[in-house]
Amino acid sequence: MTETFEIRGKGVVGGRAEGEVLIADTTLSFWGEVDAVTGRVIAVGHPLQGQSLAGRILIIRSTKGSSATPMMLRLAALEGKAPAALVNIEVDSLAALGCIVNGIPMLAGLEENPFEKIRTGDHAVVDADQGILRVTRRRTPR
């Protein structure tokens, strides 16, 4: 039996994407903390260290740090290693810009705390046009 639920939010950058969730209540700089070519988080001691962002629904508090975040998203997108969608609690201007330029859907302003309900490995659909995050639980919690 699979459990599916929806969280409403606000579309920041329109579009629809789905994929496996990568989630942590953390912040991330794409320059300096992500390798655009492997798509992996390289920041030492980061909660997502070693994880691949490629094709994932990346749910974090916000981006932070370097202003080269959109540039690194561009390079990751050219390499096919960008996240499928970004879901943030707060909107950093750099995440919004990177998503606009690369056509990556982005959602924010969720009505529920995603960090309590969603786990890495869950499947999610982001509909940023409708402002909906639809999550299907992975059968066995890790």
Binding site: V12, V13, T27, S29, W31, G32, E33, D35, A36, V37, T38, I42, A43, V44, G45, H46, R61, S62, T63, K64, G65, S66, S67, A68, T69, P70, M71, M72, R74, L75, L78, E79, E90, V91, D92, S93, L94, A96, L97, G98, I100, V101
Partner: protein, 416 residues
């Protein structure tokens, strides 16, 4: 967002499809960030790097595509009257005997620099444009990349820039407009986090520790520092860089220093929050300790000048190095803008540093070049934070004096 007829025409293609695309980006970005209009931009700082090193192992296609996008940008002219400077590259344009500084990439970067110059971008190649002539006045409308420089422009100079990415900074440079949102508006420059500082801040690196501590707590907000003396330019540079490393901070207030924060009340636009965090001597020590992950004392790299060193920092480094030798096998690099190095040359500092076995590295930094290293000592919290993942090195963050002592000894000798 309401556009003027001229802006609307550009959006609809009156100046060609490329500028229409840039306009679409600016309008879309402005709309999601809550802007109501595009305003004329006075000053920009954009990136024009050949991306090979940052995207190490990227396909030829990716690199060519990215460079083609920069070439296209440089085939236009920057907006009349807009002061446009260029952020760091990922190679140094000087000869440098490390494999990372691949001659083919240097050639390509030089070509881009020439195209940029023809377009009207001044090829400063620095992360600290305010050290080499791009010093916006209070209220000046800027579109700056470089997260540390954004904080410096807003907080120290009283200029106004949101955190720009390369795409928006290039668009602003060529179109001459920028969406007005965030800290560009008075009401969004209000402090959000009160930080009472009781620690003794004795060095530029101590100010970096304060920023590293507060950035984590501030997130995308605006920290207000109370209880500190007026920092030097170099100290302010460290504070701003570290704030935008752990946080996504656009600006801070240093009470008594930030042009619009003569008092704590002014920093909070009236009501001072009762809650505050304290940065005391213990927090200072713990912040240093958080960026010392070394498992041994032998070092191979001492990296100074993050953000790019000022001429006064280079003078201090030269004074500490005079008559000494950097230990064999240790790389001592002082990263600086080319214009700053010209002053260092004239003052004899470059010769002293080179005679000691170090060098002044222009246009870039080892983190940008992703130079492999085993153990790095640095006086920059930003450098220390990112170098671990970017170069694979262990790091030790320390004041400049202990950094130089470590360089000479070839091993970390501690702070005293």
């Amino acid at each position: 967002m309401e556009l003027t007829p001229e802006q609307q025409a550009v959006l609809e293609g009156a100046r060609g499809p490329y500028l229409a695309k840039l306009m679409q980006w600016l309008v879309a970005w402005g709309e999601v960030m809550g802007a109501r209009r595009l305003v004329p931009v006075d000053n920009t700082h954009a990136l024009l790097p050949v991306p090979n090193l940052m995207a190490r192992g990227a396909s030829r296609q990716t690199v060519e595509q990215y460079v083609a996008e920069l070439r296209e940008a440089c085939s236009y002219r920057t907006a009349p009257g807009c002061y446009c400077t260029v952020h760091t590259a990922f190679v140094t344009l000087d000869p440098l005997d490390v494999p990372e500084n691949d001659p083919e990439q240097v050639r390509l970067q030089k070509e881009l620099a020439e195209l940029a110059a023809q377009a009207g971008f001044i090829p400063t190649f620095t992360c600290a444009p305010y050290l080499v002539g791009n010093v916006p006045l209070k209220g000046e409308i800027c579109a700056w990349t470089e997260s540390s420089a954004v904080v410096y422009a807003n907080s120290i100079l009283g200029a106004r820039t949101v955190r720009h990415g390369n795409e928006s900074a290039i668009a602003a440079s060529l179109l001459g407009w920028v969406p007005e949102f965030g800290v560009m508006l008075d009401e969004n420059r209000k402090g959000t986090l009160r930080v009472e500082v009781t620690a003794d801040l004795d060095s530029t690196t101590d100010w970096g520790a304060l920023g590293y501590f507060a950035g984590k707590l501030a997130g995308l907000g605006i920290p207000v520092f109370h209880g500190v003396r007026r920092p030097t330019q170099d100290e302010a540079k460290q504070l701003c860089a570290a704030l935008a490393t752990t946080g996504g901070v656009s600006m801070c207030h240093i009470v008594g220093v930030t042009p619009e924060a003569p008092t704590l009340e002014a920093a909070f636009h009236g009501r001072v929050p009762e809650d505050f965090v304290v940065f005391d001597d213990q927090a200072l020590r713990e912040t240093y300790a958080s960026l010392r992950n070394h498992t041994g004392d032998e070092i191979d790299s001492v990296i100074l000048g993050c953000p790019h060193a000022s001429i006064r920092e280079i003078a201090e480094i030269a004074a500490l190095l005079r008559g000494k030798r950097v230990a064999p096998g240790v790389r001592l690099w002082v990263d600086a803008a080319r214009a700053t190095k010209a002053s260092a040359d004239a003052m004899g500092y470059t010769r002293i540093i080179e005679e000691a076995g170090g060098r002044i590295l222009c246009d870039t930094c080892p983190t940008n070049m992703r130079i492999p290293a085993r153990r790095i000592v640095t006086h920059g919290f930003k450098q220390a934070h990112y170098a671990r993942g970017m170069t694979g090195a262990e790091v030790i963050v320390a004041e400049t004096g202990p950094c130089i002592r470590a360089a000479v000894a070839g091993r970390w000798l501690g702070d005293d």
